[in-house]
């Protein structure tokens, strides 16, 4: 597998996004970015592929919690309950 980093977004989008201040974005520039993504076939393909990856990622079953962590947290919650009982 090639570990070489590739940027699969079109250069125009990346330049527009890099030029946009993430804390205080210029509304016109943001509008231009949104319009670009809507109209650029290359960006649409890339966005769609990422959307599907994210959807599958979201729907995948999470890994279980380690038994050590689970035991430790259960102990702590039970201790808290015991304190509440005593109060």
């Amino acid at each position: 597998m090639s570990q070489e980093k590739m940027n699969t977004y079109c250069q125009e989008l990346a330049e527009l996004v890099a030029a946009c201040d993430p804390d205080n974005p210029n509304p016109e520039l943001l509008e231009k970015i949104e319009r670009h993504v809507e109209q650029c076939a290359e960006c649409q393909s890339a966005e769609s592929a990422l959307d599907r990856t994210v959807r599958a990622f979201r729907e995948a079953e999470p890994r279980g919690v380690s038994s050590q962590f689970e035991q430790s947290l259960v102990d702590q919650l039970c201790r808290n309950d015991d304190r509440a009982d005593q109060a």
Partner: protein
Amino acid sequence: MERPWDIDLSVYDDETQLLDGLRRRDRFACTCLLKFYAPRLLRLAGQLMGDQDEAEDVLQEAFIRACDQIDRFRGESGLGTWLHRIVVNTALMRLRARKTVSGEDVEAMISSGNEGSWQSVSSETVEPSRELLDKELMDAMNAAINRLPESLRTVFVLRDVEGMSTREAAEVLGISESALKVRLHRARIALRSEIEPYLQDRGANPLQTDRNES
């Protein structure tokens, strides 16, 4: 020997019963709460924090807080939604206490690589189906999210992974909706670059977009 966490989950397989148990401070109810919700919430905390150890700390704090505050739970949303909010708030509080990533780091992520490395989506790229989202791609996605600067990671996780609306995510993060949109674009550009090699390795079917399907 029976351990407190080796319990019959069917005792609380209904949320109302579980809540009753939690309000009575039933010793096993908290365990059930953990069994039901911890795996997904631990993943959420891990994605927000970008660090598994810190994620466990967040989850621990969130569950303790939830059990302590269970009497305040009004049932207006589901128990899972309520816990989700506690985990998000706990994680964000911890992140705010941390030093934030500098703007230069973010710029470097976006503009990494020279112009020659720009590449359009190739025909070798395939759509990841659930079957294809195997452990390797899952790990790659997790690692890529973890590598995002905090300001981009939180936006991406809340908006794209957790499915919050733009307004909701912006409110939770205390930023403007337009700032959130720009950060989301930045996050997606960075992630796309990171996972692209894994998608390219997964066959030769041409890319099918949502648009093409409709």
